[in-house]
Amino acid sequence: MDAVESAASPDGGKLAVMHARLEAIVRKMTNTLFRTARSGVINAGRDFSCCLVTADNELLVTAESLPIHVMRGPDLMAKIMRELQPAIRPGDAYLNNSPYHGNSHAGDHSLLVPVIDREGVYRYTVVVKAHVADCGNSVPSTLYANATDVYQEGALIFPSVQVQRDYRDCADIVRMCQMRIRAPRQWYGDHLALIGAARVGERELLALGEEVGWDRLVEHGKSWFDYSEQRMCASIRKLPNARVSAVNSHDPMIGMREGIPLKAVVEADPAEALLTVDLRENPDCVAAGINLTESTAMTAAMVGVFNSLGAGIPANAGSFRRICVRLRENCVAGVPRHPVSCSTATTGVADRVTNAVQRAMADFGDEFGMAECGLGIPATAAFISGKDSRRNSATYVNMLTLGQTCGAGTPWSDGWLTIAHVGNGGQVMRDSTEIDELMYPIRIWVDRVVADSEGAGRQRGAPSGEVEWGPVDTAMEGMWSSDGNTFPALGARGGGAGAKARQFKRSRDGSLSPLDAFGGVRLEPGESVVAFSCGGGGYGSPLERKAERVAHDVAERLVSPARAASVYGVVVDASGKLDRAATAEMRASRQTHS
């Protein structure tokens, strides 16, 4: 390295190169976890995230991660790990799934591995977080919305607990998990996959630090943060100096007949390039599993902000400097107090908060914000469990990843069909019907999208998904916590709401009876669950949607000709043939009436 180059201020070329190298490390971790995990929710559903945190406990790099997992949380957990464990050594690994210690919810097992150079200097923390199929809850589901507190929830909680020393398992912890987590072999396989991914990250970072020099790597981090901060500043400066807010409501649950009203207040200060999201005007913690954790409350707000500002701003501690999220303690969308339950902290209220933030931000102007995404997690993607008669009655428990459509209309595009829920950002992979039916005694009878279920808009929301599933030759238990049965995903800037989620039991005689939104069912052979996910909300007035796009939706049987006329003001026959003159007339009369 010649003196001229290293003395010069870090330029955009070098920054890009070094960042690409760090991203490559995270991708290697991701690949390892995805390919080796045992739970469907990880190896098919891709419900996991990998990231790198600096020695100052700041989030540096994530790649193809679930937004709700990583924006804040890995940093909090790294900080807590270092506070609780004063003598961290190479070869250590710590498990954190505690909602009170920086993690998201108990169903997400986070593994933290320190990266310590040969001089003994603490350099980075590698974080791998995955949604495990079971975490020892009192019911066979990691999303237990009806849990009144952490005791009823029943999860084994690990508040930053050492699980490896000298690169070897702490066997007592493994034994403990195997006694309390359903399908223990599957859990252990996942645990190995988490460790494998984290160790890949550690190894690669050590090699990179040795190669380029630790100081240079640390310097890079600072420059990268500055760069990311500048990108965020540039975006905030485009916003008007204004304060906006939006309210929505989580569905009613046991003890909360009216639902839980939620509010986000967003204030843009373009002069100072600062954006503030205030979540303090929300209710206190509730006696249910839907409370947010500190990490998911912060992150839920930030996902809404990032969705609203458009592409291209790196999500890391640098860009986060310009976002201030105000939380209060003992708030359903704030910082929980032990022992409240946060079992569904990555979905439910979190999605409502993100939705409120991005819908509020749509009021900043026509090129900002987003409509609301459909709510989760519908019974199309239930937790199923039971005994598999084809596999010597082995117990199984897993989450289906089917039917989660839900994408919201944006200023730029229609709702992404498979966004799953807003905190997921569409990262989740769908199950294959054949693979599900091979692995579990299940039959997927129906798996399709539903016409006329989209939130109408200039950019429409995604339609609902319908899934009918049931057991084959055996009994099967299904559980879900499906928000969006009562309060749908709302549209923004004149866009319409998406269809609501709902679920039914089909009896042997074919009749349908409704099932609770937060609950489950035990099915006997011949019975099935018929479930619908939410449609996403629309962005902008449906009367402004290009008539050709409406006609295309009709041709594709996503929208009926009747709805095209009544909601979009577009006259089109069932084959998608557009009547331009009639459309112009109809739209003109609507505009004058409205």
Partner: protein, 704 residues
Amino acid sequence: MSSLRLAIDTGGTFTDLIVENESGQLSLFKSPTTPSNPVKGVLDVLRVAAEGHGQPFARFLGRCTSLLHGTTRALNAVLSSNTARTAFLTTEGHPDVLLYREGGRSDPFNFLREFPEPYVPRALTWEVPGRIGASGEVVKPIDEARVREIAGELREKHVEAVSVCLLWSPLNPAHELRVGELLAEEMPEVPVTLSHQLTPMLREYRRASAASIDASLKPLMSDYIGRLESCLRGEGFAGRLLIVTSNGGVLDAATVAAAPILAINSGPSMAPVAGLHYARLHAGTSTAIVADTGGTSYDVSLVRDGHIPRTRETWLGDRFYGHMTGFPSVDIKSIGAGGGSIAWVDDGGLLRIGPESAGADPGPACYGRGGQRPTVTDACVVLGYIDPDYFLGGKMPLDPAAARRAVEDCVGRRLGLDVDAAAFAIVELATEKMVHAIEDVTVSHGVDPCSAVLVAGGGAAGLNSVKIASRLGIRRILFPHTGAVLSASGALLADLSATFTAPAVTSSANFAFAAVNNCIASLKDKCREFAAGPGAGAVATRVTYSVEARYERQVWELEIELPVEKFRGAEDVNRLVQRFHEEHQAVFAVADRDAGIEMLSWTARISCRLHEERSQSTTMAGEMSAAGRVRSVRFGSPERLRTAVRSMDDLRMGEVVRGPAIVESGFTTVVIEPDSSAEPLAGGGLMVTLTPMRSGEQFSAGER
């Protein structure tokens, strides 16, 4: 008069031809591709070659015993949505297999891109009543009357091709076969693809996607192949017309016309075949990283222990936004970084390369055709790597001032760098992207790149391959004499090969000996049939068997070569399980040695070698360069170095060219970095060796 073998690769801009005579001498020819009429491009390049051989066209063609043809025709048709009006028949209740795909999204906060349209629209999708279950049992019989009705509706909609993918057809094809029969009765003129016949693999999306892509290509590809064959025959060609397949082999033209998805990756799939050959020949190794640098993309594959890598996850277009072929193909990672990739600076002052490319028109700024934005090629001109007067052997003079201007205006000024430093940053970032592509295919598969040789193909490979190797710790870089036409040269080396797959789901804990052995026996029969049919007269035939296996409850399989062709007892199963553990450890760095494995699909791959291997040498038609020149070139440090320029043709065997140096030929320019040296290879080509000084210093510093 001696016989000739021909290999023709039709690319986006050029059609490449290699002619091999009986003594193994190769001659290379290039002619522009005519996208509207690719048959013409093939005939044109053949005429050029006939002239080059000083022979009348018919006489020249009459000498050719075989023509091996790689073509991007199928791929381009898909990418430009220029395929047949295709209908999709699916199981009742599952109409959205193609719409939903497998989920996933690459950039969480980027909502600029719309969700992709399905390969076949919902408007052309029909649900077939009937259901097969997971054990192959008939849950609900097929409704034949409804299928006949559907055929009527297909006619009304003027459908030109039909794909059929019903759930569980690989396990029980009865329903798919019956639909095929009924359609053949009702609409015999319309081509149909049944998914289980094309690829009897589980995962309905992949099978449906493969079947739909295949069906949609049938009218077009049978037309193209038919016309090509009749034109060639008409001009006097009496040899065998073979088409390069995605799987790294060749098959008779008629076979490919009947299943055109076989040709979706035709062309690029041959680069690793060629790379392996040259690595063995010149470097004595069968582990090689094979890279092909094109104008818009950089294609990389890893050949490990002589195995050509294969995948079933090939995307046409971008991952998550394009279509997955779901069809076995040579595994090639392609990134949008080539000579034509555009460099730019974003709002935050970060340098970016691509994905936008200047393409062939207007091309890089230095082409002088109106391009204003700097490309990697422009940066190479600025740095002195490319001689503007000797590009492509002097056939195309470049405008160095335009290159400087573009680099300075669009990058240098925005980053506060002088033009040299800006150009260097562009090449360095492009290099880094290519390095990552290589890391993706090596490190993630547990292979240390240091242990491999880098085979660098493509016209622009020489510009930064030595730099790439140096970043990865690769010691040897091989520039084959046919590097500029690597895919065509691979076709000359390719075997006639086919893959047969059949499902037999079982586990190590409860191994179904009879079912598996029957399955393998049926595959063996198919191979025997192939060997006696298309493979008759082969000089050597090889069959390998493998299985897609995974740990219990995993959903992604690894392909494991079978230790035996018949499982006789627990010991045989154990050997397979051990192989799986080893492969899992090698690929993912972990193995769960206490866990059992599950097995899904069994595959036999047959390769028939059609000709004896010959030692090749090249005669280049390129013009001589002005050898012995000296240029001022910018390498790692800001001061330019006086650098010797040598002509490839002038190098003597045994001579060592020490870096810094530039070696030029009519087809390519190779930059020999300061800490490396180059030697010509017997028969043509160049081997560059990195002197271990630079990396050695770093390692010893680390170890002290």
